[in-house]
Symmetry: C2
Subunit: 332 residues, 2 copies
């Protein structure tokens, strides 16, 4: 019952090949071009993309594999990737791994079956190493998380520097006992941890870091625990937007004041951070640029498969707000 290119050809009085050329920009006389266009309208023809992909051997499709699209960081990146992709005539297949390496492997296999032209991927720590060994039929651009990333294109934040910046700011405000909460699923957490430790030692302070699941709930539980035990530090750094939210929730629930009872700083300048409490001091990641850059790297790689690997490191911006106001007992 469906209308194929043959039906259009018959209606236009030409061969299927000519219809294909008329639609695809091949060399066709103006006269037949018009006939074909009329026939397409008359029949209501819609090309079958599966057939086109099969025969032409390119899918015009890329994969985007992230931990969780409902994390605003990935939402923003995804939106940028999709806009760039649709502009370039590419479809996007979106996959949520929930930081689960098995799902990652499953989706990578799916990408092979879809014969995607490329993949943009934010891998867990566990997959980063496997990835270095594995070989796929499509280029992969890592995003947000790259580790040492032997030989793979990547776009990441300068995590070490950003964490360092955050600690330096807190120290300058007079805070001494600064705890860090870091995600245990990604290399990003490790890099931020390293930046934190380095900055603390630089300032002659003792680092006190905790690696936890990168979720609101885990961070909230951890913070609640501190308040119950009376072990809360003067200030805390949370290594992503979700964990930052968890800390804020815990403070609200415990009736604590920000920053008087505990100062807060974190990553990801999500719009709510401006509105919560006295405003939260955060590192702003250039999320849209990140997505766009990943697409660009992917396109470049498709153009030049053998070009040397490129790792793009973007700088974060420290947005200072009320949650890290000068500690009361600070030296002037």
């Amino acid at each position: 019952m469906t209308i194929s290119i043959k039906d259009v050809a018959r209606a236009a009085g030409v061969s299927p090949a000519t219809v294909s050329r008329a639609l695809g920009g091949g060399p066709v006389s103006a006269e037949l071009q018009a006939q074909v266009e009329a026939a397409v309208k008359a029949t209501g023809y819609r090309p079958n993309l599966s057939a086109r992909r099969l025969r032409s051997r390119h899918s015009q499709t890329i994969g985007l594999i992230v931990a969780d699209i409902s994390n605003p960081f990935f939402t923003a990146v995804a939106r940028a990737v999709e806009d760039s992709a649709y502009k370039a005539g590419l479809r996007v297949i979106l996959c949520n791994t929930d930081e689960n390496p098995q799902k990652e492997a499953m989706y990578l296999q799916l990408m092979e079956e879809e014969r995607v032209t490329g993949v943009i991927f934010a891998p867990t720590r566990a997959s980063v190493d496997k990835l270095a060994r594995a070989t796929y039929n499509f280029p992969i651009v890592l995003i947000d998380r790259a580790g040492r990333a032997g030989g793979r294109d990547a776009v990441v934040l300068d995590n070490f520097a950003a964490a360092d910046m955050l600690v330096a700011h807190l120290v300058a405000q007079g805070y001494r006992r600064i705890t860090g909460l870091f995600g245990n699923a990604s290399t990003t957490g490790i890099e931020r941890h390293d930046g934190y430790v380095a900055a603390m030692q630089q300032a002659g302070l003792t680092p006190a870091a905790r690696f936890i699941a990168p979720t609101v709930e885990a961070a909230e539980a951890e913070t609640c625990h501190w308040f119950k035990q009376g072990t809360a530090p003067e200030a805390v750094i949370a290594s992503n937007g979700l964990m930052l939210m968890g800390v804020v929730r815990a403070m609200l629930a415990a009736g604590k004041k920000i920053p008087e009872d505990m100062a807060i700083a974190g990553f990801d300048n999500e719009s709510w951070t401006e509105l919560a409490g006295p405003g939260l001091t955060v590192i702003e990641q250039p999320v849209a640029d990140l997505g766009r850059a990943a697409m660009q790297l992917l396109m470049d790689r498709l153009d030049a498969p053998d070009a040397p690997m490129r790792k793009m490191v973007l700088g974060g911006r420290c947005v200072v707000r009320g949650s890290t106001r000068r500690a009361t007992g600070a030296a002037a």
Copy 2:
């Protein structure tokens, strides 16, 4: 260079048909099944989904067309839809229309070319009517926005009742001059407006509604304007999460106190609403249920194309927080 089913067949010493059956669950002897599986492993074969879709004539793919995935409401719905879909062995193609009817038309055409099995769609007001007339090769389930929706399956919130509930709450708290801000792009905005007007009249109050673009920026500008003119009401209702955020931003920027200078209530219980100011009173939509229900309606429709249309109306829950605390001059 790519490995096809023929290569596997040769490696396993069977016909391509047998390989297809072995992989697809057809009747195959245990012996050959094992041979095929070994051959698949040995060759590293990955089925070509385009070829499979072309031949089998079903795409195992659905479309999800929403205004903007970075709106947390749609993010949550999308996540629920995708989880249900992947569980059912279906891919999801996600499209952002930015409330632009032209993009909507373009993506619907894309869905036809992809030969999707179905579409879940949150249309603009402009498209809702056209949709009633148009006919597609796949079922469409409307989500969030349905209007009168002649003959189309739909899952929506009881917007009228929800707005009514919000106004009633504000009135009970002693607020009288209550302004409503409604989105001008969707039928949802109209329904919430109608509920607002009805509740105001019920209470013997004069409605004062404004229809604006459903964005943070538009709501922020409108609210700023009030403060500059000195025309701010005692309380405001914002008809979605983005507009609610705009109002809060404007109050913060103007140094106004919530709820003393102006009370706030709105839609969408996004996690930040709990953390902003004294906490925001909102209508919580069952977003995950919404997404799941839409998938369910779609699957049911595929099973029974001629069954009568079903419109599922879900109730909202009013979450009361500090932003609507009793007005100081209120009667007891």
